[in-house]
Amino acid sequence: MNRVVITGMGVVSPVGNTREAFWNSLVAGRSGIRAVDFVDERTASRIAGIAEDVIPDNVPSKEVKRQGRFILFALEAANQAWNQAGLDINTEDPYRCGALVGTGIGGVQDIEENALRLHEGGPRRVSPLLMVKGLSNMAAGAVAIHFGLQGPNACIVTACATGAQSIAAAANTIRLGQADVMLTGGTEATIIPYGLAAFSAMRALSTRNDTPEKASRPFDRDRDGFVLSEGAGILVLESEAHARQRGAVILAELAGSAETCDAYHPVAPRPDGSGAAAAMRLALRQAGIPPEKVDYCNAHGTSTKLNDAAESLAFLEVFGPAPPPVSSTKSMIGHLLGAAGAVEAVACVLTIRYNTIHPNINYDTPDPECPVNVVANTAREAKVDIAVSNSLGFGGHNATLVFKRYE
């Protein structure tokens, strides 16, 4: 089996569209959550994390008009990752380079817009570009076209586990020797009336509309739901041999990954967190790392009552009475759904690189139902060689990625 390493990363997020801006903001503990003014005031949750000014370099403006917002996010993040990796497709076998870019919901903005056009103007008003902009797999397709990647290409859709499962699947492609290089991650753009209304309707979202920056508070006793957010995270994964052969800078190793399913309820997690715990245990086993060696856990930590309580029990089950420090990136940037696991993967690699654990903000009152070792409110310097990232999705999907310092 080939070892899998990370050689490039890109991010689009509510706290910045460069690795530096993103990381500096996380370490400073700044919230990227704001009030939104374009939804009906009867919408229960009117706050969100919005990615501003996302116009990918080197994508012609005519082409930009033909892409859905979630696709543009993926292209921008992929540009950053590709440039950091220093890859040149002209010196690669294009059939050994692939893209596995997931999304939880896809081009829902264009679907919403065209549903309205259909309703108001009839079938002839529906855009011929709807399918180009709207199909969930089009981000993976657009990334392949943009960089000339003719190898394995797919889109994984597992709700909020999408980003992590995409990275895991891309890593497996490399482990098995089916590709040398994979651009992989997730992208999401759902901050539209339809998105906010739909997640509000199921009472999944925070309704702290008057204090947006305080709304996402994973593991805090007074949490009341997640905050919808948007963006993308893309990694360049390579086989270790390929990266070394071309002299690439290796940022970290993706040492292990695993996926399980709760097989319990469409959206509620198993209350004992056993499915999530199994994913962590299996991922650590693949990495050959005992739980006591883990230096940091980047929690799924959505800020919903159910997720945070169940995930806390999962940590307890895996790590016992002396658990590693935990923080949730979502406390600052909200929940990027299908992009969450990918953006949080970027955060984990930066944690290892800078030996700094970003805080879990808005952690004011511990919750007895969440017995976790939370890095509360301010960043902490710590030697981090092993970082674990969880992603738990509606549908019962549990995915864990294990990142390891490359030496």
Binding site: P60, S61, K62, R124, S127, P128, L129, V132
Partner: protein, 79 residues
């Protein structure tokens, strides 16, 4: 009126395909000269329908040049 339609159509094509107005000659072909694929031209036809309040029928499928589009719109707008 017909001069008006011609310049309006050309303006709209220039904007949508991001070309200078000088490139939008009567014999410019959407695909070969203006770099538009079938999705672009279908979108253009929808935009023309909205601009001129007409309904473009299947006859429009054979339109491949700017001049043909203008002639078609002029004919439909006159009806």
């Amino acid at each position: 009126m017909s001069e008006d339609i011609s310049s309006k159509v050309k303006q709209l094509i220039a904007e949508r395909f991001e070309r200078s107005i000088e490139e939008i000659t009567d014999d410019a072909r959407f695909n070969e000269d203006l770099g538009a694929d079938s999705l672009d031209t279908t979108e253009l036809m929808m935009a023309l329908e909205e601009e001129f309040h007409i309904e473009i029928d299947d006859e429009a499928n054979s339109i491949t040049t700017v001049g043909e589009a203008i002639a078609y719109i002029q004919k439909r707008a006159a009806n």
